[in-house]
């Protein structure tokens, strides 16, 4: 351990904006009381991909629609269930103070005001919520913030296809070869019920790293976010996460300290 920081896994940021008030309060407590705190730069990328981009999609669908019915259909048809539920949650949020869906022009403006504010504030809150951002593998994509022009956002996360991208993820992973050998054995020992698709991806990629055939391209790194965040947390005191399934089998072979955020116990039944 080189630093005394507690690393927050990406899921803690999601819990902080969850719909469950007990989960929100407990996550908020962790952010305010756990010091010093840190994240991997990769968390910024994960948050952008999992939340901010969906907000951008919701914005696009709402702004192009001539009615709520149309917005609802558009979000479900091309944004998926998650984006439609975002629309519903936004309506619920606005309805607390009384929300009039008519005329749609006005309602749409009001929706867009809140979506724009949420895109900006949620992304901004990531780095400003912790004391330090560690970026040992120099993730270029994590340093690309949402951009906005007068009327639209640019929220894409480009694929990493060029050697010109100064990302050192390959070197970063290579330095943990011994730990990765132990990790493969640990994952192999799991039953099917204990394992997961991400753990299998991690094992496959760990195998290629050990045998020097690993070449990280496109979105490879995004399949092994838990591995990258777990390894990054080794420089700190511990990793705080609710993701027991992936991190419990990994933390011992990779030699990082794990603290579990008790999500299941907190959730309203």
């Amino acid at each position: 351990m080189a630093f005394p920081h507690t690393f927050f896994d990406t899921d803690l940021f999601f819990h902080r904006i969850s719909n469950d008030p007990k989960v929100v309060a407990a996550a908020g407590d962790e952010f305010s009381k756990t010091r010093p705190s840190a994240i991997s730069a990769f968390t910024i990328l994960e948050f952008k991909g999992a939340y901010v981009q969906k907000l951008g999609l919701l914005r696009e669908k709402v702004s192009r629609s001539d009615s709520l019915r149309e917005a609802s259909a558009r979000t479900e048809n091309s944004g998926g269930r998650g984006v439609k539920l975002m629309l519903a949650l936004l309506l619920k949020y606005l309805d607390v103070g009384g929300f009039d869906i008519r005329p749609w022009e006005e309602a749409r403006r009001q929706l867009l005001v809140h979506i724009d504010a949420e895109i900006y504030a949620s992304y901004r809150s990531i780095a400003s919520s912790v004391d330090k951002v560690f970026d040992d593998f120099q993730c270029s994509r994590s340093q690309e913030p949402p951009l906005f022009s007068n009327t639209k956002w640019k929220l894409q996360i480009s694929n990493c296809t060029s050697d010109a991208i100064p990302c050192h993820v390959q070197q970063f992973l290579k330095q943990y070869e011994a730990e990765l050998i132990s990790l493969i054995q640990a994952i192999d020992s799991l039953t099917d019920d204990e394992s997961s698709r991400e753990l299998k991806n991690i094992k496959d990629i760990a195998f290629t790293i050990i045998h020097s055939s690993f070449y990280c391209s496109s979105k490879t790194c995004r399949k092994i976010g838990d591995l990258l965040i777990g390894l990054q947390s080794k420089v700190g005191y511990e990793l705080l996460t609710s993701n027991f399934r992936e991190h419990d089998p990994m933390h011992f072979p990779l030699k990082y300290r794990l603290r579990i955020f008790p999500l299941a116990a907190l959730r309203i039944k």
Partner: protein, 212 residues
């Protein structure tokens, strides 16, 4: 090992994609606004704004009426909204009066969110953040510095074209002084029942929309 001590907020936050149209910067900051020659102008705006407010209070004028002539009415409402938060900051007024003005300012923010049809993303960011920061809160929840930050942000909304690089310092000031809560639109881990409830919210509003 390299660390980013500062993937700083400044680096993370939103450079400009395009240069907005340059406009006359007739917007003043709160201190200037309250001084010398602006007094006459402030009174004029406030008197007009008070008229709109009284009408609004009596439910004589609807937001549609206010925005018959969009740019002019929007500008009046924006000026009035700014004047309200300026008055909230006036320590010579009694607390009840300031509290009422604060509530009126919040009402105006909501009306702006529905009616200011010239607003750009940059306006939306500031306006939405003001609304979220003050939701379910009253004057007592905020210190003087926060109220002044609200005034600065409200003042910025008066610019017809608000440049994206102007947003960051205002948002930094707001978030430093006052928590800007998330709208919380994440929906992972919802139960089937919760999802059904959310579906019914959309259906309810669609029904309202169809009931013309």
């Amino acid at each position: 090992m390299s660390t980013i001590e500062n993937i700083s907020e400044h680096d993370l936050i939103m450079p400009v994609l395009e240069q907005p149209v340059k406009t006359d910067d007739k917007v003043v900051n709160i201190d200037d606004y309250r001084s010398k020659s602006d007094t006459v102008n402030a009174n004029r705006i406030f008197q007009h704004g008070a008229g709109i407010l009284r009408a609004k209070h009596n439910r004589v004028i609807t937001s549609d009426d206010v925005f018959q002539s969009v740019s002019e009415a929007s500008q009046y409402l924006l000026d009035e909204t700014f004047q309200l938060i300026v008055e909230v900051n006036d320590s010579e007024l009694d607390i009840v009066e300031r509290s009422n003005l604060f509530d009126m300012w919040k009402d105006n923010l909501r009306i702006l969110s529905r009616n200011a049809n010239h607003f750009l993303v940059s306006h939306n960011i500031i306006l939405g953040s003001l609304i979220n920061s003050t939701k379910k809160k009253d004057l007592n929840n905020f210190k003087v510095e926060v109220l002044k930050a609200f005034a600065d942000a409200t003042n910025a909304l008066r610019k017809p074209r608000l440049q994206s690089q102007e947003v960051e310092p205002l948002m930094a000031q707001l978030s430093q002084l006052s928590c800007i809560p998330s709208t919380g639109l994440l929906n992972d881990g919802l139960s089937g029942l919760e999802e059904m409830n959310l579906d019914s919210i959309i259906l309810k509003f669609i029904k309202d929309e169809d009931a013309k």
